[in-house]
Amino acid sequence: MTKRIRSIYWALVTLILLTWQSSLLLASPPMRLESLPPVAPKEDAEKLKQAYALLEQGLSAELAYRLAYEVYQKHGIVRAAWFPSWLYRQAKKPLPDPNDRLAVIGSVVEGGHGLPLSMLRRGATSIGLLFRASCALGNYEEIVKWGEMLIQAGNDSYSIIKTVESARLALVQGIKQYPHRRNLSKQIWRPLPLKFREEDYFILVPLDQACKILGLSCTITTNPKMAGGKGIRIVKPDVPNIVYRLFLGRPLVERLENGKGQTETLAYAPYEEGGVVWVPFYWLAKQAGIKGWEVRNGKIYVAPK
């Protein structure tokens, strides 16, 4: 009986997914896009992935812009989506194609992988990245150019509209560039004695070592009751009433202030491998009050606090 129900269930799921594919229309704030942009070829998708990582980590917006622009020049508006590399190493069964949104959501709905695949899946479009890079660069003309293109393509979300309006206003007043942007002097940046790995263009560091070096108080305890089997807590010594909880395999942070929690997001989910908990450096650096950092000659260099 159970077997019969199971086969009917899977037939229905297949039917639903097939019908879905043919009638895909996305709505919401914004909802005018009737079809998805094409998927970027593999090599160009990699460039979009790198540009995304640069922007999310607060690294070179110039390089991010260049990479996304190369893709835009070749293919126009294209999209790319991906899962983190560690997920492929740790998955017990084949993962869906990250570009196939419906298969990914279907996997979550079916509870297949025990991890929030729809959140681990990351994606971007060529013009979305160009817009973000322009914002990071403070270039109002570019913000208007790419923002208008996004809006025209159906991305009329409130934040994009307001950002473009603001940039237009600046241009009307004769301001082309955000005035306070300047190059930080990197001569005085110092290297950190911290090993790291680069994955998916994110700089990842071992949590316990990084906390010692950055002056954060971190505890990693074995706790089978927590997602990933580890309880991870991070406290800034000067703000002891705020506790951050990380979760293995989930791109989330729970920020507890005086016991009251708020969920925040991470651009890259922490994961454990070989007994080491790897965490994106950009997030730890932010918690440690580091304003600027980069990787140079195989080392992480940080700006003085």
Partner: protein, 251 residues
């Protein structure tokens, strides 16, 4: 079109839950009370949503909303599915997307909520500018279209810089402005976004998938934008009672 007066169920795949297979707790990403709270959807225009924690319960994943269908207690209900996700490869910076109608379509009405984009709106890297008074100044300055140089430290709406003016030319003091000038809680914003998306599932057949525009629909959950106002809407649509009836539960 016949008026739809139905129960509405919401299956929340972002809810926290106990995973009995691995014997562990998994934190909520979309807290249940963002969907069912009395603070969230108390209005007459909203249905009393029946919330299902999609991650819990026996028989997973073989749970269906029309339970006992064909045997007994058959109820004609609709169910929407809420899933946390990432939508930037389709709608950059959008807070959520809806994939289809709640009726008249064999597909599941899935709603994907992008917490990272919501977080960006809530977020505020510049601590000084995060003070409501300072951020309010930026906003008013922008809204009134005054020249930026008259706005003190807020050079543009995009960035707030050094609101205490200690380091007037120091980029390190700058941060991107968020939008949450009235300090809405994450719960309020999530409730608003989920409610808005649920509206699309019901009004999918209408122009612009049911978005309402114009001054009279400003206080409606399905108003076309989310603008971080003091009191976010909790009503489906005050000015369009015809729409409300589509949501009424057991009138």
């Amino acid at each position: 079109m016949l008026e739809k007066v139905k129960d509405m169920f919401v299956m929340n795949f972002g809810a926290g839950y106990y995973d009995p297979i691995n014997d562990r707790w998994v934190e909520a990403v979309i807290p249940n009370d963002a969907i069912e709270s009395q603070d969230g959807f108390p209005g007459q225009g909203m249905p009393l949503l029946w919330l299902l924690n999609a991650n819990e319960g026996s028989g997973y994943p073989f749970r269906v909303v029309n339970f006992l269908w064909g045997y007994a207690h058959r109820r004609d209900v609709y169910a929407a599915i809420v899933v946390p996700g990432n939508v930037d490869d389709v709608y950059d910076k959008a807070y959520g997307v809806t994939y289809g109608p709640i009726w008249g379509n064999p597909t599941a009405p899935i709603i994907e909520i992008d917490l990272e984009n919501i977080d960006e709106g809530l977020g505020s890297p510049c601590n000084d500018c995060n003070q409501p008074a300072n951020r309010g100044t930026c906003w008013l300055c922008f809204g009134r279209q005054q020249p930026f140089q008259h706005c003190g430290h807020c050079q543009t709406f995009l960035y707030c810089c050094d609101c205490d003016n200690d380091h007037p030319n120091d980029e390190q003091q700058c941060g991107e402005c968020g939008y949450n000038i009235h300090n809405l809680s994450q719960h309020q914003v999530l409730t608003w976004v989920v409610g808005h998306e649920l509206g699309h599932t019901v009004l999918w057949h209408q122009p612009d998938r049911g978005h309402h525009s114009g001054a009279t629909t400003y206080d409606c959950l399905i108003w076309e934008y989310g603008d971080w106002r003091v009191n976010p809407p909790t009503e489906f649509c005050v000015q369009n009672p015809g729409c409300q009836t589509r949501w009424k539960l057991n009138p």
